[in-house]
Subunit: 381 residues, 2 copies
């Protein structure tokens, strides 16, 4: 890699235009002069999480996207349906930077001792605009990675690890003793399984394919239910009865899975009920939808009594609720276990320009297990 | 009415038989000798609430029900689908009494002063098995009605009034300032509107027909949205923006209405948002499903950000949560306002035997606004 000037850097942008078109491009932006408490991080690794793809693709039909521009400065365009456009009213004609989290090396720092102390350090950061060569950020927001950790190893220190830890914390705070997770073979799901093994919490994993079940069993999972199996509902009910799990975190969102989980929880709960009640068991059963891998409608039969809830779950409000101190403890655990519990795996590392190639979008846009990409904005520039 | 012996009395029973048949019948049961703290109430009025019909009909197809027995001792049979049978596993072959609430006159009492003090009084009672000539119950569970109140006037003192008061209390406890109610022209809905007018709380009523809107406007409703109108979603969004309502109580359950309410709440919330967030507004939006007028699946598009919840709501756990003292205050308010705020209207008063006539079941079984029945077990015996 040639030594480039830090004065300007490329940044990936996503724009939804009034006419109904999404445009993805790279723009050259000046690197700001860091204020006393700030540092400039040269980003070397930033994952493409499902939570990034909502902002990146804006609900456009990427299968019909068109490539333009040059290989160095590609421009991708795609159409949005009228329904998708309605949901995008708040961001029309705004050129938005993308990328929730990343890691890199501090190359410049403001005058404060805290900022100066970070020069040369490899740090993980969260806060958007990470699909960029340089990111100006407050020193206090930098999580210093243990010596010997590469940016690629530290790229996913926040979204997945804190979400997984947040699920366990929510389970405890709401009085449940075990939990259920869907799309459980994902990077996040593997982390959650590793946390649960370490912290001795019972976890019921739901996957969609036998090979995903095998992957989880390999890392020590006890309860794995395959929703493609004809015995899925029975398997799930058995696992719920065995673990007592009454809270689930669902990455799928659309379809019938959330309701099926509640139905199986109810079936497990009535096994121990002393008498029949037409209102079902009194055990509160909760599903939190935290992702939308299936963007279609959510549908359920209310066959699980009256003590149930389905709701949205999001990392940021969770962190705000527990407060800075408690959140900082979680971050420090992530840094300490970044190569073990919180290790991520990626299919491919791409440059900013390559991330906008239609062939690559076709792969990582599927959000399939084992198709996770890492952008290295310092690559190929 | 001839003076009958209190030694035995007729009681309506609902039985789901192993073969997949529902049987409704009247059985003669001995009236128990009241214990010191108990009284015997001669039931003269008991409403057929939607919440009674679940236990009564057990999800059977009543449109194909068959009549048998004699006019005095009718027997109604109907078939349950395999799906309905699955949900009824807990009550198979049990002959269950029906009727959540009612009112009548205390005709006998145990030896305690509290019980003796009730002899001859007209009381309202809650606790099941009210579709019966006589009901033995603890004196402390009797709500003494103000002098001059008939059993018919006091028949619905608990389920609807406490549910309506419970909705307002839940709204306050969960930090909302206004509320939404569906199927709002029902007896319960009219009560809720009267409570809100009296307590100065903004209420958004959702109805399905213009005549229901007119009925609510007549009793003073400000916000009434008709879901059959082509401008429904716009009307609802305007009403939500005007009132700031972020919690809804839904009697329908099935279909798309719960999701539409959340979508309109989100649209109202983003009007005042300062900047675009792809996760939607940070305002928590809640729908509680407390009824199932539409037994079909619930379906929603997740087009309302991440700060939302849908859940079951049930009166009994609510009353347990607030405790006896707080619940007693609510009951006393109901007794005091039984002829005004909490007045109910009924289409027809029927005897126990008439309640099992197929022509009557066809009417009250529809659970339509303006088709509410009152059973008078002391009638025609």
């Amino acid at each position: 890699m040639a030594q480039a000037s830090t004065d300007t850097g490329l940044q990936l942008r996503s724009t939804v235009k009034t006419g109904g078109t999404l445009e993805l491009s790279l723009v050259s932006v000046p690197t700001p002069e860091p204020k006393p408490e700030e540092v400039i991080v040269r980003i070397e690794a930033s994952p493409i999480n499902p939570s990034d793809q909502g902002l990146l693709f804006a609900g456009a039909d990427m299968s019909a996207a068109k490539a333009g521009g040059t290989p160095e400065r590609p421009i991708v365009t795609a159409s949005l349906s009228p329904a998708a456009m309605k949901a995008m009213a708040g961001r029309l004609d705004q050129s938005l930077p993308v990328g929730n989290e990343g890691a890199g090396v501090v190359v410049r720092a403001g005058s404060s001792p805290a900022a100066q102390a970070l020069v040369g350090k490899t740090v993980a950061i969260l806060g958007g605009a990470m699909y960029a060569q340089y990111r100006c950020i407050k020193a206090v927001q930098c999580l210093v990675l243990p010596p010997g950790t590469t940016p690629a190893e530290g790229a996913s220190c926040f979204v997945n690890p804190l979400t997984a830890l947040g699920m366990v914390a929510t389970m405890r705070a709401e009085g449940h003793k075990a939990l259920v997770h869907t799309a459980a073979a994902s990077n996040l799901g593997q982390m959650l399984q590793k946390i649960c093994l370490k912290d001795q919490i019972a976890l019921v994993n739901i996957v969609r394919k036998p090979e995903q079940a095998a992957l989880l069993k390999k890392i020590g999972a006890t309860h794995v239910c395959d929703s493609s199996s004809p015995t899925f509902m029975d398997d799930l009910t058995e696992a719920l009865a065995a673990t007592g799990a009454t809270i689930a975190f669902d990455a799928i969102g659309g379809g019938t899975l959330a309701g099926q989980i509640l139905t199986a929880m109810e079936a497990a709960a009535v096994r121990t009920a002393k008498e029949y009640s037409r209102y079902g068991s009194t055990v509160h059963k909760q599903v939190y939808i935290y992702g939308g891998l299936d963007r279609g409608p959510t549908q359920f039969q209310r066959a699980f009594g009256m003590a149930w809830g389905i709701g949205g779950w999001l990392l940021t409000p969770f962190l705000q609720k527990i407060g800075f101190e408690a959140a900082q403890k979680l971050r420090e655990r992530v840094a300490a276990e970044v190569k073990t519990t919180f290790a991520s795996t990626y299919t491919k590392e791409v440059s900013l320009a390559s991330a906008l190639r239609l062939e690559e979008i076709a792969v990582y846009g599927k959000q399939a297990t084992g198709a996770k990409y890492l952008i290295n904005p310092s690559k190929g520039v």
